[in-house]
């Protein structure tokens, strides 16, 4: 009796030992390498010798499969929500078009009337650059892949560049992720922390514009640069740096290497589908800047009018940057959640396989026990 029991249990042991961690799919195997990156999953315990101590029983595996299934549902849902929000961000850009179109038209016409030499408007003053304000736009939430990291990395690069050139700088951080990054690094001078919000409105853009206006006009800084991520593609995330202030009287948009784009050329992004998959298209819209057919009386001096126009231009530039940044963040989240869902599917598959194998091994073991036990009596 005792020997048969011992026999049975040793058989059970043998059966389990035959199942290596590799075949259980719980550690190390290539196809499941991505498994451990699933958010929040705790890795399998490893001991120093390199073989994993697999203590996953049948119940544990079952629970794990259920967890993975739930996580997959969440990541799927988040992906769809992000896609829907991108459409909303698009609409916001389209809603902003009437404003920027009309602004550009008037900007052109006013510039025709004045010679750029005698302009003395605070927002356009070009000064020797001793200090720069760098506006860094990140997101408020995580789970968006490398989005926030790319922006912050670029910010660090720019700060290093400025240090090399001997130019002082201060940061205006927009977005909770950037805020917490800079708060953890007290050696970086930060002027202000602001939150990004879900849907940037003109109130938020105004708050930021106020701060930058005050910084620039009070001559605390001599240049303001804007670091944000343009919505170019769903996969790539490439932050760019634009010179925001001083503005050019004609409203050109320049990046830090001095490449300028006409104010009348506006690029809008669009989320569409191509071959059944999401894709991003950018189209350039050129505003018609035809003359107003002659007599347009200026109530004030052209320079005064320009003075009223340029803050509007500053606001719309900021708003556009915020909108692009949000769209990029949503796209990055879509991507990240898509990958997470795929990983979850893979993990579920391999877990199911190992669960079934274990289950069958247990059944086989029990049968062998019974057979062995009955064999004695026969």
């Amino acid at each position: 009796m005792a020997s048969s029991v011992a026999c049975g249990s040793s058989l059970k042991m043998a059966t389990f030992e035959g199942l290596s961690a590799r075949s259980l799919g719980l550690r190390g195997a290539e196809p499941v390498g991505a498994v451990d990156t699933l958010i929040g999953e705790s890795p399998v315990r490893r001991d120093g010798r390199g073989s994993s101590v697999v203590t996953a029983g049948l119940k544990d595996l079952r629970d794990r499969i259920a967890t993975v299934k739930n996580t997959q549902k969440i990541t799927d849902a988040m992906k769809l929500v992000a896609a829907a929000k991108v459409r909303r961000a698009q609409e916001a850009v389209v809603n902003g078009r009437p404003f920027s179109e009309n602004l550009v038209k008037v900007l052109y016409n006013v510039n025709e009337q004045i010679s750029t030499d005698d302009i003395d408007i605070p927002l356009t003053t070009v000064r020797p650059v001793k200090k720069i304000a760098l506006v860094v736009i990140t997101g408020d939430r995580g789970l968006c892949g490398g989005f926030n990291n790319y922006v912050l990395k670029k910010a660090e690069l720019r700060m290093a560049e400025l240090r090399n050139m001997g130019v002082a700088y201060t940061i205006v951080s927009i977005g909770k992720k950037g805020n917490s990054y800079f708060k953890r690094r007290p050696d970086i001078p930060v002027d202000k922390f602001l939150d990004a919000g879900n849907a940037p409105t003109t109130k938020e853009a105004q708050a930021i514009a106020d701060e930058l206006f005050a910084l620039f006009v009070s001559e605390e800084v001599d240049k303001v640069e804007l670091l944000y991520t343009r919505f170019v593609s769903l996969i790539k995330s490439d932050p760019i740096i634009h010179t925001l202030l001083p503005l050019s009287p004609a409203g050109e948009v320049c990046d830090i290497s001095g490449n300028c784009v006409d104010a009348a050329d506006d690029e809008m992004f669009r989320l569409t589908t191509k071959d059944g998959k999401f894709s991003v298209e950018r189209e350039t819209v050129r505003t018609e800047t035809a003359e107003f057919g002659g007599v347009l009386t200026f109530e004030q001096e052209p320079v005064q009018i320009l003075d009223a126009l340029l803050p509007l231009y500053l606001n719309s530039q900021l708003l556009r940057a915020l909108q692009e940044s949000i769209a990029s963040e949503l796209a990055a989240r879509m991507n990240a959640m898509n990958n997470a869902s795929d990983n979850a599917a893979d993990l579920k598959k391999s877990l199911s396989i190992s669960y079934n194998r274990q289950r069958q091994a247990k059944i086989t073991g029990e049968i062998l026990e019974i057979v062995a036990g009955s064999g004695v009596t026969v």
Partner: protein
């Protein structure tokens, strides 16, 4: 009745797009009233109030700077931000105005001065708008 097309546009939305009979703008060189068939005009707007008359009723809007373009019986006003007097609470506007006043007196340094003054102007515009709106009977 003679009307003109009036559009008031903010960077993120269109605030007004309809026909009006008269509009009074607060420019940095004084108040300007525009009636139908006005001569072509381009003027900057200060932080102040904008009054629009439609069907004998005046609506009051607080605008935070911008400009107005009058051309061919079509007026386009671009503003940084605008708030209809109907949406402003008189109590709140008064409190905010007093707060900004104290901030201006406490402001230290050029940058803070610029910021504080800007906020004061805006608070005053909001307060003026709601007071004017109550007077005209289109806000409470």
């Amino acid at each position: 009745m003679d009307t003109f097309r009036l559009r008031v546009i903010a960077p993120d939305r269109i605030i007004f797009d309809s026909r009006a009979a008269e509009v009074i703008l607060a420019t940095n060189t004084g108040l300007v009233g525009i009636l139908p068939n006005h001569a072509p005009l381009l003027t900057g707007l200060d932080i102040g109030i904008l009054k629009i008359r439609t069907n004998e009723l005046w609506s009051v809007v607080a605008v935070m700077g911008g400009f107005a373009m009058v051309h061919d019986n079509d007026i386009t006003i671009l503003v940084n931000e605008a708030e209809n007097a109907k949406e402003i609470n008189l109590q709140e506007a008064q409190e905010i105005f007093q707060l900004t006043q104290t901030k201006v007196s406490q402001a230290d340094g050029r940058k803070e001065n610029i910021e504080a003054n800007l906020n004061l102007k805006r608070a005053k515009a909001r307060l003026d708008a709601i007071q004017e709106g109550i007077k005209e009977g289109t806000a409470s």
